[in-house]
């Protein structure tokens, strides 16, 4: 059984659309757009996040843009609301993104609580999610690792719930596997770990727990060789997913011989 034959039968489905890749990548912190594109391709990412920001009036408006490097025909762009600290700003940002991307409805909602932790403000996140779903957006929501809150966000109508594994950009890895497990087991929408991954084994652990995908940015963009790390993450996601589907053995305290005991000499 090889991954080439299993991958098409195991798509990630978000808001009714199938994706072959379970690795979603951010586009921030790269050296230039060439590196952003090379890393996105090496990751095999189909969904890439983008931020919405004011243009710099006075700077050369004809300079290359991110969207030239990652055209919407080739990638599904996922505009985020990074930098928003209240529901109103997040909703405004999503409306701007929809206009910018010709009626595009899929967004990543994140409403942050403070600059030190970048933990989500869950009260404002819930408010924004309700408003956005009512306005026809397909909301993938960044949230804390609270199973009750994850359920509420699903009930509101979010198309994917994206709990953090550790603080954004921290690289601390999966700090909360039993919370994630609880969220995964209760969910009917895809659960995507968003934030906290540091290296490939972290991504594999998330997938082995049964997450439907992982979204990461800093772990790739901040690596010494981002393109190579993107490749490593792609393999880790595939390995973790396969291991989850294969079903791991139970943990036992003592040894269990792999070779038959009968027929030994002596």
């Amino acid at each position: 059984m090889n991954l080439k034959t299993t991958a098409p039968t195991d798509p990630l489905i978000i808001a009714g659309k199938s994706y072959g890749s379970r690795l979603l990548t951010g586009t921030g912190k790269y050296r230039d757009f060439d590196e952003t594109r090379a890393a996105s391709l090496a990751a095999g990412a189909e969904i890439v996040t983008v931020a919405i920001r004011r243009v710099n009036i006075g700077q050369d408006p004809s300079a290359p843009s991110l969207i030239d490097a990652l055209p919407p025909g080739e990638f599904t762009l996922l505009p985020n609301t990074a930098g928003c600290y209240n529901a109103a700003d997040a909703v405004r940002t999503c409306k701007l993104a929809r206009e910018l991307l010709d009626g595009h409805r899929l967004v990543k909602l994140e409403v942050l609580g403070d600059q030190k932790t970048l933990f989500p403000d869950v009260v404002e996140t819930l408010k924004a999610a309700e408003a956005l779903v009512a306005d026809g957006f397909e909301v993938m929501v960044y949230t804390s690792d609270d199973p009750i809150l994850a359920r509420r966000l699903e009930e509101i109508g979010c198309v994917a719930v994206m709990p953090l594994a550790a603080p954004i950009g921290s690289g601390l890895g999966i700090q909360n596997r039993y919370n994630l497990l609880e969220i995964i087991e209760n969910a009917k929408v895809p659960i995507i770990v968003d934030a906290g991954v540091g290296t490939a084994s972290d991504a594999a652990i998330a997938m082995e727990l049964g997450c439907d995908g992982v979204l990461m940015n800093t772990a790739i963009a901040g690596a010494r060789d981002p393109v190579l790390m993107a490749h490593a993450m792609k393999l880790a996601i595939q390995a973790g997913r396969a291991a989850f589907k294969a079903g791991r053995i139970p943990r036992k305290r003592y040894a269990s011989a792999s070779s038959p005991i009968d027929g030994t000499i002596g």
Partner: protein, 66 residues
């Protein structure tokens, strides 16, 4: 008259449309989105939407982010 463009004051002629302002700023034909006084102005209305003194205009685009 004066408007606030991306948080900064900017002088502009009376009877300036959004399309005209985008042209002056070098963004004609570029992929941007425009918000006027916290309401989206669809691309189809850039040619007809006039600016008024004190208007707050936001012009945004997509950049790298996670």
């Amino acid at each position: 008259m004066q408007i606030i463009l991306n948080g900064q004051p900017r002088d502009c002629d009376a009877a300036t449309t959004i399309a005209r302002l985008l042209e002056q700023a070098g963004y004609a034909g570029r992929r941007v989105a425009v918000e006027l006084n916290q309401e989206i102005v669809p691309r189809s209305r850039h040619d007809s939407q006039l600016l008024a003194d004190g208007d707050r205009l936001e012009i945004v685009h997509a950049i790298g982010g996670g």
